[in-house]
Symmetry: C2
C-alpha cells in the first residue's frame, strides 16, 4: 500500500451540473436555468459562430454578399386562444420578430405542427387562418410545413414550430454585442401585456383586466427605424423572461452596464395591478409585440419621432442608457433614488407563455 491517490479511470465523464439532472419548467423560462442548459448541453457539441453569437437569429452568408438571418421558435402557449391573439398569430409574429431583430427583412416561414389526437379540426382551421392574417400583415410567406399527430395525452392540443428566413442589407450590423457606452435604451411601448393577458385567459388572475396581448409583427416598425438612422446598435424583443432578461443578455454580450430609470418604464395600470397582486415584476413578464432598441444617443430623438408615427411604436420612450460599468450588469434606478441589480430569473415564473 502507498499513499498515492488511486488512479480511477471512468469511461464516462459526466458534465458537472449546476442544475437538476431532470428537465424542469425553469429550463424553458428564458432565465438563468435556460441559459445554463444551452451553455452546458447545446453549445458544446453544436458550437459555430452563428449559434454562439447568441442573437435572436443566426446570421450566415449563403452566397457572395447574400446574408441570411434564420430563427426558430417552438410555440406551446396555453391556452391556444387568448385576448388579442392565438398560438397561430404568435407563431408567425414571434419568428418574424426574431428575424427582424438582427435588422433583416423577414421573407419566408416554415411551420411544423404537432397535433394531439382528438383536437377539433375547426380549432386547427382557426389557427391556420390566424397564421395567414399575421403573415399577410408581416408580408411574409409560409412556404413549407409538416404535420405530426401524437396520441391523446402526448401533447396539449397543438404545438407549432416556426422558422423564419430573412435577408440582411449589406453593411448592416445589429446584434447584442453592439451596445456602446452612451447609447440610449428605447422600449417601443408598455411592458407585460402579453403575459398578463394569457394569465387572465387561463383563469389564473381572479379579476378582469380587459387587457389584450400585444402580439404584433414588428418588422415594418424596424424598417421605419432603420430608414432614419444607421445608429441602431441592438434590437431585441423582450419575450420569455421579459425586458429584464433581454437587457441582461445585451449587457453580457456587449460587456457594458445598462441603467434603467424605473419611473420611465411604461406599464399599464392593469398590468401593474396584476403584478402587484401576484408578486410579479413587469420587467420579467413576456411581451410579444414590443422591442428594445439600443441606439446612438445623437439619433435617439429622430428614431423616437419615426417610431411614434407607426402603429406599434407610438408609445416608444427612452427607459435608460448604456454605461461602461458595471460590465454585464443591468441596474435599475428606483423611484426612491436607490439603484438595484436586476438579474436573470433563476427559475420559471410563467410556464407556457409563448
Amino acid at each position: 500500500m502507498t499513499n498515492k491517490t488511486p488512479s480511477v479511470e471512468s469511461p464516462i465523464c459526466p458534465l458537472p451540473r449546476r442544475h437538476s439532472d431532470k428537465i424542469v419548467q425553469g429550463h424553458g423560462s428564458g432565465g438563468k436555468m435556460m441559459a445554463d442548459l444551452i451553455k452546458d448541453v447545446f453549445y458544446p457539441p453544436l458550437a459555430n459562430p452563428a449559434l454562439l453569437a447568441g442573437d435572436d437569429a443566426g446570421v450566415v452568408e449563403i452566397s457572395d454578399g447574400v446574408r441570411l438571418a434564420i430563427s426558430t421558435d417552438a410555440h406551446v402557449v396555453s391556452p391556444l386562444f387568448f385576448p388579442g391573439g392565438d398560438i397561430g398569430k404568435l407563431s408567425v409574429c414571434g419568428t418574424v420578430n426574431d428575424v427582424a431583430m438582427v435588422g433583416a427583412r423577414p421573407l419566408y416561414l416554415s411551420a411544423s405542427f404537432i397535433l394531439e389526437e382528438g383536437l377539433d379540426i375547426n380549432i386547427l382551421e382557426k389557427v391556420v387562418n390566424s397564421m395567414k392574417e399575421a403573415a399577410n400583415e408581416a408580408d411574409v410567406q409560409i412556404i413549407c410545413g409538416d404535420t405530426k399527430v401524437v396520441a391523446h395525452g402526448e401533447a396539449d392540443g397543438l404545438y407549432i414550430s416556426t422558422t423564419g428566413i430573412g435577408l440582411l442589407e449589406p453593411g448592416r450590423s445589429i446584434g447584442g454585442s453592439q451596445a456602446k457606452p452612451g447609447d440610449q435604451v428605447i422600449i417601443s411601448g408598455s411592458l407585460g401585456d402579453h403575459g398578463i393577458a394569457v394569465l387572465e385567459a387561463r383563469g389564473d388572475l381572479g379579476f378582469e383586466t380587459n387587457l389584450e396581448s400585444d402580439i404584433a409583427p414588428l418588422n415594418h416598425l424596424i424598417r421605419a427605424m432603420l430608414s432614419v438612422s444607421d445608429k441602431v446598435h441592438v434590437l431585441r424583443d423582450p419575450t420569455r423572461g421579459g425586458a429584464a432578461s433581454a437587457l441582461n443578455e445585451i449587457a453580457k454580450q456587449s460587456q457594458v452596464g445598462i441603467i434603467l430609470d424605473e419611473g420611465s418604464i411604461p406599464v399599464k395600470p392593469a398590468v401593474a395591478a396584476a403584478c402587484e397582486m401576484l408578486g410579479f415584476d413587469p420587467l420579467y413578464i413576456a411581451n410579444e409585440g414590443k422591442l428594445i432598441a439600443v441606439v446612438g444617443s445623437e439619433d435617439a430623438p429622430r428614431i423616437l419621432e419615426k417610431m411614434h408615427q407607426t402603429r406599434y411604436g407610438e408609445d416608444a420612450v427612452v427607459i435608460g442608457q448604456v454605461e461602461e460599468s458595471p460590465p454585464g450588469r443591468l441596474l435599475l434606478k428606483t423611484g426612491l433614488g436607490s439603484t438595484r441589480i436586476v438579474d436573470l430569473l433563476a427559475g420559471e415564473m410563467l410556464p407556457r407563455i409563448c
Copy 2:
C-alpha cells in the same frame, strides 16, 4: 306556405369534410387523410407557389439568381432511441434529405425542442450529440435553436422540429412534377428497415430481427448522382407512408402512370417476415435513408453505377418505369403476372414512426 326551398343564411359556412371533425392518428400518416387535411385546412389560406408545388422542400428565389430550398419536419418518433439511430439523428437526416430531394445542397439547420418536464438531461445530451454527429456527416451546421418545456403529460419525452436551408444550383429543376413517360424508377436500397426497426424497439414485434433503421443523410449520394447526369427528374425520400405514398404523389404531380415490378423491389428477409406476420406491405413502411429517383432511361445505367460506388446507394436498383397512363396512378406488376393499383393508405398504419 310555398314549395320554395327556404332561404337559410348561415354566418359560418363550414368546409364540407370527407373526414372526421377531430384529429385522429390518420391525419399524420403520410397517406390520404393527411393529404386531405393539407388540401382542406392548410392550402386554402396559405396557398403560394412554393407551398403548392407539393415537393419535399419549398423553393424560392431570395435574391437575383440565388434560389433556396427550405424544408421543415416535426419529429415525434417513439421510442427516442432505436437500433440504428435516435430522434436526434432522425431530425437532422430527415430534414437534410428533404432539402436534398429538390437537388439543393443543404447548408444550415434550425432546431426547436419541446421537452417534457422530468426528462433526464442525459437523454437530451445524447440526442444533441447525435444531432451533431449527423450534422457533421451531412456537412451542415445547426445555427439556431429554441427550447420550450411543457408539464409532465403534455409531451412524450421530447419532440424536435428542424428546418433545413439549402442552395440550389442554377438551372437545375428537380421535382415531383418532372417525371416523364419512359423514365426509369430507381430505389437506393431495401424498403422498410426503419419502420420495422422502430416497431421492434417498441416491443411490438414479438421476435428479434437484428434489423437497424436505415437513417442516413443522403445529400452526398445525391451530389454523386447529379455529377454524372442532368436527367435526374424526380428525387423523393419514401418516409411516412413509404414508397407507395411517395410514388403515388409523384404520379399525381406529373400526371403519369408509374408501374412497379414487384420482383425487383428489394426487401430484407427480416422486413418481409415482419410484414407477413403483421399484415403490412413493405411498400407502405417508412424509410429514413432511402431515396426514389425517377431518371431519364438513357442515363439510368450511369446513375446506378455511380450510386453503387457510394455508401448509401450500393444496393440501388431499377424497380419500375414511368408510362403515359393511367395518369396519376401507381401500379404493381405482381409475381403472378397480374397488375394491381397501389393506392395511398386511407388511415394510419404506424403512428409516431418519425
